[in-house]
């Protein structure tokens, strides 16, 4: 039995809209062990960001609603925590960073104040103590001129630096877990390489668990121990990074890998997955990928379960 | 009761009650409210109804009127003599008259004050009154810096030489423009003299916060011993009269300076608690409609008469809560020269139509009626408009700021003007004051105040002849002549007289004094020098 830090069980979640209730997460289950990096991959609209945000219950409620499921963190169900218990968890035991370092920092507060905020909140740190800690963490995430940076505002920093500040802010209370929601998507490749390198280093040094949300299989390959692939609100494949990326079982994962321009032959048509991701509300009872799937069968009208041991896939066509 | 309150009766009452004055004790204070701020307290400059009475309590002139009446008496002058030809007046000043700054008044101050009024540099609106003093033209023309007609042989004597006899001259020595000011203070303060006035009057200024309040204090060295009665007199500004009435009911203030606002008039009058608190009196006032006689169709006397007949004065009087009496002629009833036998034009729309037809405008015409834009004037104008419409005259109303109406009137651009809000309240109680500026040729020039542009050389000559009658025994004949002049004016009909306004002063129960003091025809509205505080008695 593995020792789980975070365990999401059968999470079903949706939004109440004018057009009615739309389910966006369907039976999502995930495990994260201490010191592990789990990649959650999928295309836009697949529910990966919603999953990440639901862990810290950051989705406004209403319109969002959890139909059923549990999110266990350290043997407590986050979904049942009181508001103050939840606030004690956020930023303190679980840190989170977002896709847009540009807009995720408050433009009207200095870096120093924003960094200090979690410490003052959770540790009741004094101003001097918080400042020292902020300096320390800025250095740790590789920001030079830390003293000077503390007094600067977000707009005075480049995108890469801002993302480092975000990471520093998430780490300042030494959390057990970090949720990184598309942390490099808005960055240039050379900067992306820096940030991914930083995440790897930090994880080795601090031993924290990371849930990394991304759409880029390359990022997963370079950073994650294990991977979960999401499609239309469901986990369709999960396993170690090597298993999933070198021996994909689900036709969607396969298609995704094949569509990467890396693998396409010059001058040839690229292997593409036809069609679109069905939007929430137009997802039936069966396999959501069925309408785009080359291997579609009659049985696909019912949802296949995740099958397998370590490497699981939710597809009728694949043997496990 | 109301009959008792006519001017003459009030004067009698005052005279009869005069021993009681001796018993009146000094002390106490009163608060008067005004909506608008006071403009200036400079006697040579101040010329609106609001500062008029306040100036009278701070300054004095050679002559004055008996309180509550229109009867002349010497004031700072102990006595005066008039030469037989009526061209030389000699005034002897009283002893012991001091300015508020402690300096004694001399004859030089009188000369300086009159010259100051005439000198164009002062920009006095009343300088023109003194045109009969010798040297006037030289001073106004910039050829002299003094009035050659005024000499001061000694500290107490002032001799005034006139270029023509003028029966109104003693009245002129009693109006504010002729009040005595101390030269050294005027020169030291310059333009600020109107804000920090120093006079010889019953009250002196203690503090003036523009827009808020003016505090006056009894002048201890006032030459009339025992006067004034009040120790302190405070004016509060920016007080809406509606609010002021409510505050008076609560006992917070003593006099509603602006009078009872039309909106509350009926309610206040109906309240039995106010029975003894409202003083009613007449004013030397006529409200009238001018018709520009130089432009058609008002160049036709029949049209002007028709207008006189078309207007229902009774209804207009009711519109302003009966605070006036329908006017029959240009002069108000309390003015010498008023002809009680002349009933003027009766309301007769049919007759008016007939006259219009005779004048060749039977099908009616379109014209403009100017009026000042402050209540109740636009309402009165609308009432006139409706009456005119009934006889076929379509008058568009131009409801404008006072200055614009005056400008339009002066320029002769206004076919008809309703005079309300700018109307003639006499500066002194003499028919002459109702003639030259507003009905004579002198006023019928560009910028003048004769808005009808009515200029009748014969009448002017007769008026001058009447005013040359200066001797005591000629006075009856003089007034008779004026009466006939004004009868002729009525026939020529440059105006349509509408009503004579009455004044109602609402005061607190704390204040005492004859009703005539609260509706003084000279100290409009209140003679502050003689009213007293009941709680000091």
């Amino acid at each position: 039995m593995r020792d789980f830090l975070l365990r999401i069980q059968n999470l079903c979640l949706g939004f109440q809209t004018e057009a009615g209730y739309l389910r966006v997460l369907d039976n999502v289950s995930l495990d994260l062990t201490p010191g592990e990096t789990l990649g959650l991959v999928g295309e836009s609209g697949c529910g990966k960001s919603v999953t990440a945000q639901s862990i810290l219950r950051l989705l406004p409620c209403p319109p969002s609603r959890v139909e059923e499921g549990h999110i266990w963190f350290d043997d407590k169900d986050i979904l049942k925590l009181s508001q103050s218990e939840l606030q004690d968890l956020r930023g303190n035991r679980i840190g989170m960073i977002f896709q847009e370092p540009m807009t995720s920092l408050n433009p009207t507060m200095t870096i120093g104040n924003q960094l200090a905020e979690p410490l003052r909140l959770h540790r009741k740190a004094g101003a001097g103590e918080a400042r020292a800690a902020a300096l320390d963490v800025l250095k740790r995430v590789g920001i030079g001129n830390a003293e000077q940076r503390l007094n600067q505002y977000p707009h005075e920093l480049s995108g890469g630096l801002r993302q480092r500040v975000m990471i520093a802010m998430a780490l300042i209370c030494s959390p057990q877990m970090l949720i990184a929601d598309e942390p490099t998507t808005a960055l240039d490749v050379t900067i992306q390489a820096q940030i991914l390198d930083l995440l790897r280093t930090l994880q080795k040094e601090l031993g924290i668990s990371i849930l990394l949300i991304t759409h880029d299989l390359g990022v997963v390959a370079e950073t994650c121990h294990r991977v979960a692939v999401m499609y239309a609100g469901r986990i369709v494949e999960t396993g170690t990074a090597v298993q999933v990326l070198t021996d994909p079982q689900h036709p969607y994962t396969r298609g995704l890998l094949a569509a990467s321009p890396r693998y396409a032959k010059k001058g040839e048509r690229m292997p593409a997955i036809a069609g679109q991701v069905p939007p929430p509300g137009k997802r039936g009872q069966g396999c959501p990928f069925a309408e785009r799937c080359p291997l579609v069968m009659d049985i696909c009208a019912t949802m296949p379960p995740l099958q397998g041991d370590e490497h699981k896939a939710a597809c009728w066509a694949t043997k496990t | 009761m109301r009959k008792f309150l006519t001017i003459a009766a009030a004067a009698l009452a005052l005279a009869a009650a005069s021993p009681a004055f001796a018993a009146t004790k000094q002390g106490g204070a009163a608060i008067v409210t005004f909506n608008n701020d006071l403009t200036t307290l400079d006697p040579q400059i101040g010329y609106d109804w609001q500062n008029w009475s306040v100036i009278k309590s701070i300054f004095d002139g050679l002559m004055d009127y008996k309180p509550g009446t229109t009867e002349l008496e010497p004031d700072l002058a102990q006595s005066y003599t008039v030469s037989d030809d009526g061209l030389t007046y000699t005034f002897i000043l009283r002893d012991g008259i001091k300015f508020h700054n402690g300096r004694a008044v001399t004859s030089a101050d009188v000369k300086y004050s009159l010259e100051r009024a005439v000198n164009p540099a002062t920009q006095s609106p009343g300088g023109g009154y003194f045109g009969m003093i010798a040297g006037y033209d030289d001073l106004t023309g910039g050829k002299a810096s003094e009035l050659s007609g005024i000499t001061t042989p000694d500290d107490k004597t002032v001799i005034l030489k006139l270029t023509r006899p003028d029966a109104t001259f003693l009245h002129l020595m009693a109006i504010n423009f002729a009040y005595i000011v101390p030269k050294e203070v005027v020169e030291a303060e310059g333009a600020d003299f109107g804000k920090k006035p120093v006079g010889t009057g019953a009250f002196k200024v203690v503090n003036w916060t523009p827009g808020q309040s003016l505090e006056l204090e009894r002048f201890a060295d006032y030459y009339r011993k025992g006067l004034p009665y009040l120790d302190k007199l405070t004016f509060e500004f920016g007080q809406d009269p509606t609010v002021a009435v409510l505050r008076l009911k609560k006992g917070e203030i003593d006099i509603v300076g602006d009078g009872i606002p039309p909106a509350q008039f009926t309610e206040v009058m109906a309240d039995p608690a106010n029975k003894n608190l409202i003083a009613e009196g007449e004013q030397l006032h006529t409200g009238y409609v001018t018709m520009n006689v130089t432009t058609p169709p008002f160049d036709n006397v029949k049209v002007r008469q028709a207008v006189n007949m078309a207007i229902n004065k009774d209804r207009i009087v009711r519109l302003i809560n009966n605070r006036a009496a329908p006017a029959t002629q240009a002069l108000p009833p309390a003015m010498p020269g008023y002809n009680p036998d002349n009933k003027g034009y009766a309301y007769d729309p049919e007759g008016a139509k007939k006259l219009l037809a005779e004048a060749g405008v039977g099908e009616g015409f379109t014209t403009e009626l100017y009026a000042m834009n402050v209540d109740p004037n636009p309402r009165i104008a609308q009432a006139i408009q409706q009456d005119l419409a009934a006889v076929g005259i379509k008058a568009e109303i131009r409801s404008l700021a006072q200055a614009e109406v005056i400008s339009a009137g002066g320029a002769g651009k206004a076919p008809m003007i309703w005079s309300g809000g700018m109307a003639w309240i006499a500066d002194f109680p003499d028919p002459a004051n109702f003639y030259y500026g507003i009905l004579g040729c002198a006023g019928a020039v560009e910028g003048g105040w004769n808005w009808s542009k009515f200029c009748n050389k014969d009448l002017d000559a007769r008026a001058e002849k009447a005013d040359a009658m200066v001797k005591g025994d000629q006075q009856e004949a003089r007034i008779a002549e004026w009466k006939s002049i004004f009868d002729e004016v009525l026939t020529q009909a440059p105006w349509a007289p509408i009503f004579n306004e009455k004044r109602f002063t609402y005061h607190s129960d704390r204040l005492g004094g004859e009703a005539a003091l609260f509706t003084d025809p000279i100290h409009i509205p209140v003679n502050y020098d003689y009213i007293y505080a009941k709680d000091a008695q």
Binding site: Q83, G91 | L246, G447
Partner: protein, 306 residues
């Protein structure tokens, strides 16, 4: 930052010069002859002519304008025709009540607008939100003189809780300040609501929540400061709106400020006062905008870059 301020200052100066030109030009179109107002009913044409020369009205317009500006530069705003006193001190004595009233109105509108907007934003789409927004429309739709009279009628006449008018104590200030500020409060509540709703959707609000901040601190510490920017810009414009508003409100309440002065001057067409108040009002409007320009970078450091 210094360049930014210098630019704002020189622009402000140009506006003031423009105001003097336009004011001066417009007053010549007003059909009231100052000489007639000064000279009075007994004056002779001779005296009137002399006064005309004294006032310099016989000079060509550009000469008169230069004389006017020269006097202005020396701090001389001219002399009132109707009030026979210098305009400068007159306005100076009327300014404190007006500034007090405007301050009261700004406080009133902020105290109404910001909490109402915040509350509506936090209850978005609920009954409370809708009620607040209807209320804001009512306050915007009410003409000030109707509002002022209604407040007097109810709170000073029917229920004598406040004085009927006048100046002096705090209780005198309440109704006029409310009258002047209520419409602004309506505007602000709408602006604050939409601005706050926008801010609440920003990523950094999510960041703040992810840090574990209690909701009220998120609203106040991260939300307010960012949402208030458009309102700060409005406070500058408010000065201008108030400058018109005080004319009405001061009259309704007998408040001895420059609004009342202006109203009386307009009624008597006392041109020097009209010009003086216009100029002083323009100075305050310009100062108000300048102040808003200076406060904005303190709230949002990004503006310093401009």
């Amino acid at each position: 930052m210094i360049g930014y301020l210098a630019g704002r200052l020189s622009a402000s100066f140009l506006i003031l010069v423009g105001v003097t030109i336009v004011t001066f030009g417009l007053t010549f179109l007003i059909p009231a002859d100052p000489v007639a107002m000064i000279a009075g009913r007994t004056s002779t044409p001779q005296v009137r002519e002399q006064i005309r020369v004294q006032l310099g009205l016989d000079q060509p317009l550009p000469v008169q304008y230069i004389a006017y500006v020269t006097r202005l530069a020396q701090g001389d705003l001219g002399r009132s025709y109707a009030r026979k006193s210098d305009v400068g001190p007159l306005i100076a004595s009327r300014l404190p009540p007006t500034l007090l009233l405007m301050l009261g109105a700004i406080i009133a509108e902020l105290m109404i607008g910001i909490p109402a907007g915040l509350y509506a934003a936090s209850r978005r789409g609920k009954t409370a939100d809708k009620a607040a927004m209807i209320a804001s429309f009512v306050s915007i739709s009410t003409p000030q003189f109707v509002l002022g009279l209604s407040l007097i009628y109810v709170f000073a006449y029917l229920l004598p809780w406040a004085p009927l008018g006048g100046y002096g104590t705090f209780s005198h200030l309440v109704l006029p300040a409310l009258t002047l500020g209520l419409a602004g409060g309506g505007w602000y509540s709408r602006m604050m609501r939409s601005s706050m709703i926008e801010v609440l959707q920003q990523d950094y609000i999510r960041t703040a929540r992810a840090k574990g901040m209690p909701e009220w601190r998120v609203l106040l510490r991260h939300g307010m400061r960012n949402a208030i920017l458009p309102i700060v810009a409005m406070i500058g414009l408010d000065v201008g709106i108030f400058m018109s508003g005080v004319v009405v409100v001061e009259n309704v309440f007998g408040w001895p400020g420059i609004g009342q002065l202006m109203w009386q001057a307009i009624q008597s067409l006392d041109i020097p006062i009209i010009m003086g108040v216009t100029l002083v009002a323009a100075v305050f409007i310009v100062l108000g905008n300048l102040l808003a320009d200076m406060i904005a970078p303190l709230i949002d450091p990004r503006i310093r870059l401009r």
